[in-house]
Amino acid sequence: MNVGIVGYGVYIPRYRIRLDDIARVWGEEPSRVKQGLMVEEKSVPAPDEDTATISVEAARNALKRAGINPQDIGAIYVGSESHPYAVKPTATIVAEAIEATPNLTAADMEFACKAGTAGIQACAGLVEMGQIKYGISIGADTAQAAPGDPLEYTAAAGGGAVIIGKNDGEALAEIEGTYSYTTDTPDFWRREMRPYPKHGGRFTGKPAYFKHVVSAAHGILRQLKLTPQDFAHAVFHQPNGKFPCQVAEELGFSKAQIACGLVVPKIGNTYSGATMIGLAAVLDKAKPDERILVVSYGSGAGSDAFSIKVKKAIEEKRDLAPKVEQFLNNKIYIDYSTYTKYKSLLVR
């Protein structure tokens, strides 16, 4: 592939709720919940934040790093399972807010938690065929969970944006290849007009997350004739802290290789944003020539794997926008009652 990443950016809302507070409400033992999920706290969107506002902030940060003319963007894809409208694209709001309109294509993507990486593949294809100069793919969510459902401990908000262009001097990383693994696996879903998703409990593990992430990872390693030792970093979709650690071990990656990109303990599961924010956290720290394995997972189910090689331009671009760590540390704690008000569970 002759495709690279020319800019990336993230946005994470400032509000946090501790898992202790949620566990106490439902009569669960906080330490057991936190240990089981390997999550400490999760991000909560402010009442005036949604997937569109998070996407715009992430895209603006990606543009700061890319330093390109937004009029040169030929495609915008926004991947999410919490688009503010059922009909009316989030992508047009983002396009207008980053001044990329009107000469471009735009669409919303939906594939549970992997719609953002699906957008990267679409942009990469359009760049490779010469149809567009740059494409931007965003993965963002304000995840919903029914009160008392185990999902409530992790369903968080945040997003990441990646700008794709040719693999030339301005690219901060090269996309060496991509491989996807997709089957019809009903492990997690939300029906039309329903506010909260349902899931298959333990069925979301072995036949769903693990099977698809492992298969996609093996696929890309086979395709590019690489082994886990060829990668300095690996980012796996992180619905909780436990799953990415277990899948890394199963694939032969060490704890050190996944440390940089594991952000879920501090912000929870940002769904479509999760893999994108993980990748951004790695790019914030990676050195030129280091290789990153990225594997997303979307319920339903599928995984997109990428092999990404960091280039020299990273060093001059990474400081041009706020880093993931700045978002992780810049927080305001709220209690469970305020959380229910912010999530419109408590209505006056």
């Binding site: 949604d50 409208y85 709001i93 207008e96 807010a97 008000k341 912010y342």
Partner: protein, 131 residues
């Protein structure tokens, strides 16, 4: 608010596009289409304003208008942008007790309101303190 009225103001609300008089260089936001100083000599053109500014003065809203009830107490401030114009805006994600006149703020993209449950959602600028 009617959807077309909001739609007309999208460049101003999303990206702080005002106008500048090519004759006297004065910048206007919200955009003016006649320069009050240069009158018919004025040449007004679109001008993208700086997204940073300082709080000139502010108040804390405890009794909010419809649609903003769940945000109280919140800060409503007059912000002077680096290019000169002043605008009234909400300052988000802050403790109202920690806001001071002179604080540096930057533009953020937020939901401003919506026409009921099934209407159009309006987005636009608000500001936050620069950390």
């Amino acid at each position: 608010m009617a959807a077309p009225r909001f739609w007309r103001e999208i460049p101003n609300r999303y990206n702080l596009i005002g106008t500048r008089c090519g004759n006297c260089n004065k910048v206007f936001f919200p955009p003016r289409y006649i320069c009050p100083q240069c009158r018919r000599m004025g040449k007004l053109e679109p001008y993208k304003l700086s997204r940073r500014g300082k709080i000139v003065t502010y108040g804390v809203v405890h009794v909010a208008p419809e649609g903003f009830e769940d945000l109280v107490p919140y800060v409503l401030a007059i912000v002077e942008l680096e290019d000169g114009p002043r605008l009234t805006t909400q300052v988000v994600d802050c403790d109202p007790n920690e806001i001071k006149i002179g604080d540096e703020v930057e533009m953020v993209f937020r939901r401003i309101g919506a026409d009921r449950e099934d209407g159009v959602i309006y987005y636009g600028f608000k500001f936050r303190k620069v950390e």
